[in-house]
C-alpha cells in the first residue's frame, strides 16, 4: 500500500486559559509534532485567550505569523460571529480572511463561564455565510457538543441544517461529530452535499467505511484534534480500513486539498 499523505483539518496551536498538558506553543513545535505523528500538512489556527469578539483578530494575526514558518501549515481563520464595532457588518471579514491568505474559517468558542455561547442563527449571520459561500470559503464547525445538552445553549443540528440549506455552495466541515451522533450526522450528509465531516471520533467498528459508502470519500476528512487527541486513532482507522488506496488517499488529505483549492 502506498504511504498515505495526511493533511489534518483540525489542529490548534497556542495555549488556553486553563493550560492543557500538551499545548503546542509555536510553529516550530507544531512541525516537530507533525513529524512525530506522520502528518504532512495541517489546517490550523492559533488560539489566544481573550475577552470579547476582537479575540478573532488576535488569533488570526498569530495564525498568519505561524503559517509563515512553513508551507505545511495552512492557516484557518477564527470567524467573528458577533460584532465588535458600531455598525460593523460581519460579512466584511470574509474579504479580509481570504485576502489574508486563510483557506478556511472556523467557529471558536469563548472560554470560561462568562463566554457567550456561539450561535449559527441565520437571522444573525445570513450575510456572513452568504459571502463565505460566494468565496467558497469552508466553514469549520466543532460538533463534539451536539449530542449533549450544550447544544441547547449554543448551536445544534437544526442550526447547521438551516445554514447548509440556505447556502448550498458553502462548504461546511463538521469537526469531531461523536459516534453517538451517527443518525443525525448521516441525515445531514444525505440532505446536504455541501456538508463534510472529520473522522476523528467516527470510531465505531467500520464507521469510516459506512460513512464513505453513504457520503463518498470526498466528504470524509482526516482530522486529529491535536494537541488534545492522539492522531494515531484516526490514522489507524484509515490505514486498516477496508477502503481502496484511492479512497484512503482522498480521506487522508486529497479531499481537503481539493476543497481548499476551491477558495476564490
Amino acid at each position: 500500500m502506498p504511504a498515505l499523505r495526511f493533511f489534518d483539518c483540525d489542529v490548534m496551536l497556542g495555549r488556553t486559559l486553563v493550560p492543557g498538558p500538551l499545548a503546542i506553543p509555536d510553529a516550530r513545535r507544531l512541525l516537530q509534532e507533525m513529524d512525530a505523528c506522520g502528518i504532512n500538512a495541517c489546517l490550523f489556527f492559533s488560539y489566544a485567550a481573550s475577552f470579547g469578539p476582537e479575540a478573532s483578530d488576535r488569533m488570526n494575526e498569530l495564525t498568519r505569523k505561524a503559517a509563515r514558518e512553513s508551507g505545511r501549515l495552512v492557516p484557518c481563520a477564527s470567524l467573528r460571529t458577533s460584532p465588535f464595532s458600531v455598525r460593523e457588518n460581519l460579512a466584511d471579514q470574509v474579504e479580509r480572511i481570504v485576502d489574508g491568505g486563510f483557506r478556511a474559517a472556523r467557529i471558536v468558542s469563548e472560554e470560561g463561564p462568562a463566554g457567550i455561547p456561539v450561535s449559527l442563527r441565520l437571522f444573525e449571520l445570513e450575510e456572513l455565510f452568504g459571502r463565505m459561500a460566494e468565496r467558497r470559503l469552508p466553514l469549520l464547525v466543532p460538533c463534539e457538543h451536539l449530542p449533549g445538552q450544550d447544544a441547547m445553549l449554543a448551536y445544534g443540528f437544526e442550526q447547521i441544517d438551516s445554514v447548509a440549506r440556505a447556502n448550498p455552495e458553502l462548504p461546511i466541515i463538521l469537526l469531531r461529530p461523536r459516534y453517538s451522533a451517527q443518525a443525525p450526522v448521516l441525515a445531514l450528509l444525505r440532505r446536504h452535499k455541501n456538508i463534510r465531516v472529520s473522522m476523528t471520533l467516527l470510531t465505531l467498528f467500520r464507521q469510516v467505511e459506512s460513512f464513505a459508502a453513504e457520503a463518498g470519500t470526498g466528504r470524509i476528512l482526516f482530522g486529529s484534534h491535536l494537541p488534545y487527541r492522539d492522531p494515531s486513532v484516526p490514522q489507524g482507522s484509515l490505514l486498516y480500513s477496508k477502503l481502496g488506496n484511492a479512497e484512503r488517499s482522498s480521506i487522508a488529505g486529497g479531499a481537503l486539498e481539493a476543497l481548499l483549492e476551491g477558495v476564490r
Partner: protein
C-alpha cells in the same frame, strides 16, 4: 533440550521475541505502512461479536471481526457476545453463549470467548460459569459490565463470580468506564481479596489513565487499552507510569474500530520490547489456552 522450555521459546511465548518473519521490522513501521503487524504476537483481550443482518451500517459479526484481525495482524482475540451482555432472560443468555461457543469452534485458531455474567440472572449466570471448566468449550474468562447492569462491584452475585474466578485462576474483564474515580479502588480491594483471579479494567480509566499506585499495589490488576479516543501521548504515559507488564492490548471491536485501537498502541512512544508486552505478551500470560502460534 528436553523436558524444559528453551529460552527462545519462553521469550516467544511472552511476546518478547520478534517472530521469525519480518523480524527486523518494528511494530511502528508495519503500522505506518498499513501492513498486518507481524513483528510480534498481537492478542486482543477485549472484543465483541453480535451477528447482524448483511448491509448493516454497523456490522458486528464474527466474520467481520476475523477480517479486521487479519488486516491488522491480530493473532487471537477474546470476545464477549453483545447479546449475552444484553440478555434479560436465561434463554437469551444461554443462546448467546451457545453461539459464542460455536463461533470459537469455527475459529479455534483465532478466537476464545468470555462468559458474560448477568447479575440480575444470577442463578442462571452462575450455571453458565461452569462452561469455563470444560477446556474444549472455547471460553477463557468472565466479562462483567457493572455500569450497564447497574450492579455494584461488591454485590453478592459478583462476589460469587470472584470466588469462582479465584478458585479456578480465571481472568475477569470488568467494564469500569462509568464507575468513576471511586470504582477502581473498590476493584483493587476485591482483587486483593481474591488473589488468584486476574482482573482486567476495561477501557483504561475515565480520564488520563489508571492510578499507577493501585496497579503497582495489586499484582493481579491490569488495565486494557481500548477507548473510543486517546489523548495525545496517553498510552505512552500510562505505560511509563503503570509499567508495560500491567497494560493489556484491547480493541473493543466489533464495537469500536480495530485499526485505530491497534495504531494508538503500536504508534505510541514506547520501547519496542514494552510494546510487545502490551500487544500480546501480557495476554499470553493471563489467558490460559490461547491458540498456540503453531496452530495458525
Amino acid at each position: 533440550m528436553s523436558g524444559g522450555i528453551a529460552r527462545r521459546d519462553l521469550l516467544a511465548a511472552t511476546g518478547l521475541l520478534p517472530l521469525a518473519a519480518n523480524a527486523t521490522a518494528t511494530v511502528e513501521s508495519q503500522i505506518r505502512s498499513g501492513m498486518p503487524v507481524a513483528a510480534c504476537d498481537v492478542i486482543d483481550a477485549h472484543a465483541h461479536v453480535q451477528e447482524v443482518a448483511a448491509g448493516a451500517l454497523w456490522p458486528r459479526g464474527s466474520v467481520e471481526l476475523i477480517e479486521d484481525m487479519d488486516r491488522c495482524g491480530i493473532r487471537a482475540a477474546v470476545f464477549s457476545h453483545l447479546s449475552a451482555i444484553m440478555a434479560s432472560t436465561a434463554a437469551e443468555l444461554r443462546a448467546a453463549h451457545d453461539q459464542s461457543s460455536e463461533i470459537v469452534r469455527r475459529n479455534k485458531a483465532r478466537l476464545r470467548a468470555y462468559i458474560a455474567f448477568q447479575p440480575h440472572l444470577a442463578l442462571d449466570s452462575r450455571k453458565e460459569l461452569d462452561r469455563l471448566l470444560d477446556p474444549e468449550s472455547g471460553f477463557a474468562g468472565i466479562k462483567l459490565h457493572g455500569p450497564i447492569h447497574r450492579y455494584p462491584m461488591n454485590g453478592t452475585a459478583y462476589r460469587e463470580v470472584y470466588r469462582f474466578a479465584h478458585e479456578h485462576s480465571l481472568p475477569v474483564l470488568f467494564h469500569v468506564y462509568e464507575s468513576g474515580a471511586e470504582g477502581v479502588p473498590v476493584l483493587a480491594r476485591i482483587a486483593a481479596e481474591f488473589p488468584n483471579m486476574c482482573v482486567i479494567l476495561a477501557h483504561l480509566w475515565p480520564g488520563s489513565g489508571p492510578p499507577p499506585e493501585l496497579l503497582r499495589a495489586s499484582p493481579n490488576l491490569y488495565a486494557d487499552t481500548c477507548a473510543s479516543s486517546a489523548g495525545r501521548g496517553q498510552i505512552a504515559s500510562i505505560v511509563r507510569n503503570c509499567g508495560a507488564e500491567r497494560i493489556v492490548f484491547a480493541t473493543d471491536a466489533t464495537y469500536l474500530n480495530t485499526g485505530g485501537q491497534l495504531a494508538k498502541v503500536g504508534l505510541a512512544d514506547v520501547a519496542e520490547e514494552r510494546k510487545r508486552l502490551v500487544l500480546g505478551g501480557n495476554a499470553l500470560r493471563i489467558f490460559r489456552g490461547l491458540p498456540a502460534r503453531a496452530s495458525l
